[in-house]
Symmetry: C2
Subunit: 457 residues, 2 copies
């Protein structure tokens, strides 16, 4: 979500005073106080206030004024529908038409087809056309987050004529700090920053001060890739083009911040087995719905492990102490697996991994597995000896922990890399496999060895 990247002011506001004004139907007092606020703060108030007061606000604020509120990041996507239903349909349509196109599209994407159509038919042709043009782009592509409100200048213009164009376009454009230069056929040929423009002499030809090889992305590019590029190249806006280099729109830095943020909490929630956790749940049931699938999968896989242990009941009934260390071993394997998994998944997300060879990476992880496994094994042998003066059982546990940490670390790296290659999202799919694999291997080694050396126990 983005508002024009102008600098707006004020962070503290008087909630009571605003409510008071609404209660007493004092429109002037309300508008004087409210419109002074930063759109983000207006959104906070708008969101919090009781329904009946919000309904009054719809009469006190113009669709255009409300549009600014809807463009802040405070209003969550799943709230759009509800808020829009509170409004008079034409009022809502007007408001959407006043939003920046990319944000308007975000809003409409949350609604049912029928609603979208009714809003589009109610708003002026021009806005409707702009919105329709963006609506058909696939989610998570550059096209889906770009805006069409940007400034282009013909490459044969001078600095002064460019400044004139800027001054005229400024009010509508989402950013004017980069000006994109196009040829007669609207193909992207260069870019000039406003910084360069105001330094340059006004008779200078744009073509002489513009950068000719512009960083740009295809409209079909993945939005996370765009975000990474803008972060790396430190751009405030990225031009989006088609195969013929025609400029279709721009993506501004504030949209990119949101993308990076989502991407991060996304990987994070998947590691924890909570799918799309980024929006915070408002009730238990929906939270449970999100978490159950994962828990149930792991239960089924856990039964495999139980099944396996069951094969060794004889050994266990002889030396019940063996059972005591099963969770310890499985747990440790799980932990080291998760660590390796986290490093790999994060590395894939931030593309650090692509910079180096997969083989080198696996070898390094193998080394890490050996070291951590060895240390933990020796450590646990010591612990068990101190605690129970049991040396042989200690050795069994140590051996199991050593091997399972080693395997867990490698699989925790290999499996996500493999899935990434297979175009499966490694973050979501890797977890259960690795956990189960670790459990199975560690238990086979542990109870297997135990059964062999049962005589010495």
């Amino acid at each position: 979500m983005n508002v024009k990247d102008d600098y707006k002011d004020d962070i503290i506001f008087n909630e009571e005073k605003l409510k008071e004004a609404l209660f007493t139907h004092d429109i002037r007092a309300f508008r004087n106080e409210y419109l002074l606020l930063h759109p983000y703060d207006r959104a906070i108030f708008y969101e919090k206030v009781e329904l009946e007061l919000r309904k009054i606000m719809y009469h006190y604020l113009s669709p255009k004024e409300l549009a600014e509120i809807f463009e802040t990041s405070e209003i969550d996507e799943h709230e759009y529908k509800q808020f829009l239903q509170e409004m008079d349909t034409t009022y809502a349509a007007d408001m959407i038409s006043y939003m920046f196109v990319d944000n308007a599209v975000d809003v409409l994407n949350e609604l049912d087809k029928s609603q979208v159509v009714s809003y589009l038919t109610l708003m002026n042709k021009e806005s409707a056309a702009e919105i329709k043009a963006l609506l058909h782009y696939e989610e998570y592509t550059a096209g889906s987050i770009m805006t069409t409100e940007f400034v282009t200048i013909p490459q044969n213009s001078t600095v002064s004529s460019a400044m004139t164009i800027l001054r005229n376009e400024a009010p509508g454009a989402e950013t004017i700090y980069y000006v994109f230069v196009v040829d007669y056929d609207n193909r992207l040929t260069g870019v000039v920053s406003l910084r360069d423009l105001i330094i340059a002499h006004e008779d200078t030809l744009i073509s002489t001060i513009m950068s000719e090889r512009v960083v740009n992305v295809l409209v079909s590019e993945d939005q996370e890739e765009v975000a990474r590029m803008m972060k790396d190249y430190n751009l405030l806006a990225m031009p989006v083009v088609d195969f013929q280099q025609h400029i279709l729109g721009i993506i501004t830095v504030d949209d990119i911040i949101d993308v990076l943020d989502e991407e991060a909490s996304d990987d994070y929630s998947k590691l924890a087995g909570v799918s799309n956790m980024d929006t915070f749940d408002k009730n238990s049931l929906s939270a449970a719905k999100k978490r159950l699938p994962w828990l149930l999968i792991l239960l089924v896989l856990g039964m495999l492990t139980a099944n396996l242990i069951d094969l060794f009941t004889e050994t266990i009934s002889k030396v019940a102490l063996l059972a005591a260390f099963i969770p310890l071993i499985a747990g440790t394997a799980g932990n080291s697996g998760t660590q390796a998994l986290a490093v790999a998944v994060r590395g894939i997300a931030t593309r650090d991994i692509e910079d180096e060879s997969k083989v080198k990476l696996l070898l390094r992880e193998a080394g890490t597995g050996l070291i951590t496994g060895l240390v933990c094994a020796l450590f646990v042998v010591g612990l068990i000896y101190i605690w129970k003066q049991e040396f042989i059982i200690g050795l069994l546990v140590g051996a199991a922990i050593f091997v399972s940490i080693f395997v867990a670390t490698i699989s925790g790296t290999f499996i996500p890399l493999f899935m990434h290659r297979m175009k499966v999202d490694p973050a979501v799919a890797s977890g259960p496999f690795i956990t189960t694999l670790n459990d199975v291997i560690s238990i086979i080694i542990y109870l297997g060895l135990a059964t062999l050396f049962i005589g010495d126990l």
Copy 2:
């Protein structure tokens, strides 16, 4: 890391051609090709190329030109030291003095005190003074990431005089898209965006078009809080002030993107028990060092669990099948705990949680725990009956899973909230506690019940 927020061009470059030029000591060919690249791409080449070639680059590039490369995000903080050591000391000092102050400080923070001093003494007084001024700010505060290269104008100036100031300052300033207005005592009194400036008539008084209540942060503010504010208020730059509202510096949006990125991978890595994983390890040993502490802590805590199970050896030796389900139960408790933990930690980080009452949150999680617990319990009873026609053992496992999921979900929420209140980072500290707590509780219930009903087994 940030370069001037100008729009630079070109993303693809000819690595071989550049190397060739260095080998043949063709300085002109090298500079012609190299300086056309975006600083980020220059950094990629600089980083990759062999040491001896890089040494040649130090002769072919001016300290100022190299400074631009060092300001890209491609150069990792832990690489600064090594690269600087390759350079002639005065050359290095010069280079640092040409960097934006905030980046120069980032570099120096990676070095030993003695090195810092030697560099500071070698560079010109002015830069040294600017850097020293920033060096003493605590890490992770606004002061530590702000730059002092920003543009201020007196509040009594006109648009045209402001533009003149801008044109002169533009080359040195990190951003000129916001101009901060100050009074005679350099106190922040307002802000004007370049957008407003170029639209306004040149005789207009700044005081009439500036926003008076500027969003700003104290120099001691936490950097994550600053990042959140800039994201929410959609700012390209944030002024940093002292208690008397004197403007000390600005923080630009690109620095904030890095902060948000680090913060995210930070929480993520802590959830997985890999401290500060954000930089990707280049060798096994350092990776092992990072992961071992966590593994060892969990081993010790795991011994508690083992100790506990050991109390029930008698029961287990009678019905060894009981042991088969211990990992299943502990695992499920662990998983649901991690889910709750992830939601809470992420909620705290994104401040979603602050918007609502802690009590409501805990109640909701309790509800989630009840639902998920119940479903999983019934599910597992079914599984065990199908698999082993064991009904009573199934009930025991089910009961244990129900209670432990319930407890795990609540503790997974309560503990991080409590730690947050106690000003301990919930992401890093919560994990082991919750895991152990879950194991202990689930096992007591499971084996406790089993011992009670041993007759029926």
